[in-house]
Amino acid sequence: MNFANLPLWGIGAGLAVLAGTLFLLQMLRVRHRQLEVPTTMFWKEAVEESRARVLRQRFRHPWAYLLLLSIATLLWFAVAGLQSSASDKQEYLLVLDGSVGMSHPGRFETATKRLLQDADNLPATHREVWWSGAQTVLLLAKGEHPLLLRERLKALQPDKAAAAVEQRLLQMAHGVDRDRFLQIRLYGDAPLHDAAMEQMPKNFEVLRCTPLAPAQSGNRGFLSGGIHASTSGQWDRIDLMVEVFGTDETPAILSSGTQLDVAAISQKTAAGKRWHFPDILARGQVLDLRITPADAYPADDAILVALPQRRPMQVLLSDSLQSTFAPLVMADSALVMATDAAELVVRRQGETLGAGLPALEISSASNSTHAFEITDSGNGAPEQLLQTMHAQLGFNEIDALALAQQLQQPISLGVEFGDSRKVQVWDQLLDSKGAFASSRSFPLFMGRALRWLGNRHPYAPFALTGRPLTFSNGSWTTPTKGVAVTAGLPLRPSEAGLYLGEQGNDVAANAFDPRASLGLAAVADVPTGETLQASTMPLWSWMVLLVLVLLSIEWVLFHKGRIP
């Protein structure tokens, strides 16, 4: 029952007020027209008793009063939108799949048509309509008229986003009223897996209300795509890899509208062909990969790939360390001798060169407690930093026992937090005849230490809609939707497109849907929901009908003189 959330006692009080008001009206004195007649003897015979309703006299016409009270009560209930208790606990959640898979011709139109039909035929107070595309959006709230839904759907097209209905249903399942029976009616092709459906509460019933997607043919497009550090070892280049199907043509690669001429290596896969484009200079540009010509399902005909900014880091070398480190810098493609703006410095402890820059300092055993001492900027748990640095800088590759025997001193690693990054190493370890300098771990450690000091942002090898990037926090914006994610949270691209990183670490997210791209026929996963018919008349309509019947009865009784 919906009486604007009136409790039971409120309904009872309303009925009492209604009955009392009608009773008083019934008792009110009638304003009579006075007539003088020759005789009233025939009128006395015509009326068994006076029809007048006189205040403070005995209550008359109980049947007329009951009839009137019934009519008034029914009208009140009808206007208040009375519903049966059976439907009181039944709620409907209508979900329109707006994922990229719905871009197949006709699929979205079929889903919206069924959705509108069902929205029309369900009680407005017990159904909601949600859009599940790049975002989850409430399309029609409880109580809103379905005409609003028609208007809102006109502006909608499937997003370039992976299907996320299943994830959102699982999220919703944790915060629902378990006393209410919820029927979830899905309009679209988003897959619903058995494992996920088994986690749904018992009072949830999930139905798919559109025909299963049939098999499609003749499509071609990208199945996946991403980048990887160049296998040639060059710091400033990356390898690009994509998997396509349906065509043997090499995908076109455009950068700022200009097609790149890049050598490619292909390899057949089960679904199609994997293309490997090696050693692409990474300068933060965005590549637009296309398969031409476009087909009936254009959602997978083009993808974006954002390349990282991989310029070499400029290293400022102390004169006293030129002989030791200059060859190392020149041999590493990630490093270059500083010419204008140094990004990090290599110096001896106590030198002021490159003050404020991240520094690799060569210290002496007499001044430093630890053979390796690492200072990170910011605050945090030292144990966590120690663990991270041990793996990241390659300490597990260093034979610390051999070094300790050679130096006759214990080799230890210390960590702390400070203003800027710094790595301190004993100069004894850099002795050209020493075990460390001659070991293969030395260039590895130095290279990793200098890269860590350079603090370049990592890059995402790939980004998929609906999946978070786990490597970094930061802030990204999209050209149309503003801030997509704030610092402190990993980016979870909701929609395919370019996300501009605040620090130049742009991310290009793609919505791959292999099932939709390959045109595979959908497999029945949840029960099918029949389209609701309009035959179910709402309870208020029956009440209005009953009121009309009662009015007819009153009319007949009035004309028969049974009621005044």
């Binding site: 006075q34 003088e36 007649v37 009233t40 029809r51």
Partner: protein, 298 residues
């Protein structure tokens, strides 16, 4: 209350002219009246031979039939039918209900009374007027002779509205006057609160010939009333609150028709005249309907 009636309203030359062809004819009036035109039960010196009877001392010798004496040797007298007058007692209803409408039905009532008075006086009958309401009101002296008509008119013009209608009481009062048997003409709307049955019972007890004139108005049977009304009985002053519906009207008509039927049945059984006189129409024309061939046989 409507205006009172003047004597000029009650009759005029045209009115009297239209009554000339109407006559009241009694089968036999009881003896004891004055010489007039009605056949009486008395035998005497009339013109029409009626019977013989033996001579007794003191009889008029001129009435002896000498031819019979010569044949039979016995003395018989020839008897002739006496012509006497018919006493006509007019009972106009002057209760309050007769005066509240426009025009008041008392006008028609008094004109009817005047018509019967004129008819009776024209044939030398004796006329008495006994207005009634809750009782008889100041009876007018019985008169005969055509010259009495203006006197009756002036007396009737002075009548005022009475109270409630009580025909039974009025008739008992009339009966108590021990009047010579004649024709009683009751002119009324017959809206007696005691009901039609009580009125008929009272009429049955009357030892006179009867002629009933029921004054009706079209609104009596079809009142133009709808909705919630308070009806005030003009005679008793009692209010009746009712809601007039089609069903109520139907029952009203049924009650009215039943009332009228009781009067009609009584008239038919007793073979007496009953005129339902529409007060909005010409009085004489309607009265004439009971005068078959211009004669009403009382």
């Amino acid at each position: 209350m409507a205006d009172t009636v003047t004597a000029d309203d009650l009759f005029d030359a045209e009115f009297l002219e239209s009554l000339q062809r109407l006559r009241l004819v009694a089968q036999r009036v009881p003896r004891g009246g004055r010489f007039a035109e009605q056949r009486s039960k008395a035998l005497g010196a009339g013109l029409e031979f009626q019977d013989y009877r033996p001579y007794s001392t003191g009889d008029d010798l001129r009435a002896i039939d000498w031819n019979i004496y010569r044949r039979l040797g016995r003395v018989f007298l020839r008897l002739f039918e006496e012509l006497e007058d018919l006493p006509v007692y007019l009972l106009p209803d002057i209760s309050r209900s007769m005066w509240i409408e426009q025009p008041p039905r008392a006008h028609a009532c008094l004109r009817s009374a005047m018509a019967f008075a004129a008819i009776a006086l024209a044939q030398h009958d004796r006329v008495g007027v006994f207005p009634f309401a809750e009782d008889l009101h100041s009876p007018m002296q019985s008169r005969s002779g055509w010259n009495s008509l203006p006197l009756f008119a002036q007396a009737m013009a002075k009548l005022e509205a009475g109270g409630t209608t009580d025909l039974s009481r009025s008739l008992r009062r009339l009966e108590g006057m021990q009047l010579r048997s004649g024709l009683v003409v009751v002119i009324s709307d017959f809206f007696d609160p005691a009901g039609a049955e009580a009125m008929v019972s009272a009429l049955k007890r009357l030892k006179h010939k009867l002629l009933l004139v029921q004054l009706v108005h079209k609104s009596d049977r079809d009142p133009q009333v709808q909705g919630d009304v308070r009806l005030r009985d003009c005679e008793s002053g009692v209010d009746q609150d009712i809601t007039v519906t089609a069903q109520v009207l139907e029952r009203y008509r049924h009650a009215y028709d039943n009332h009228a039927r009781i009067l009609t049945d009584f008239a038919q059984k007793r073979r007496i005249g009953l005129v339902q006189l529409d007060v909005d129409k010409n009085v004489v024309e309607q009265i004439a309907t009971v005068f078959e061939g211009g004669r009403y046989h009382a």
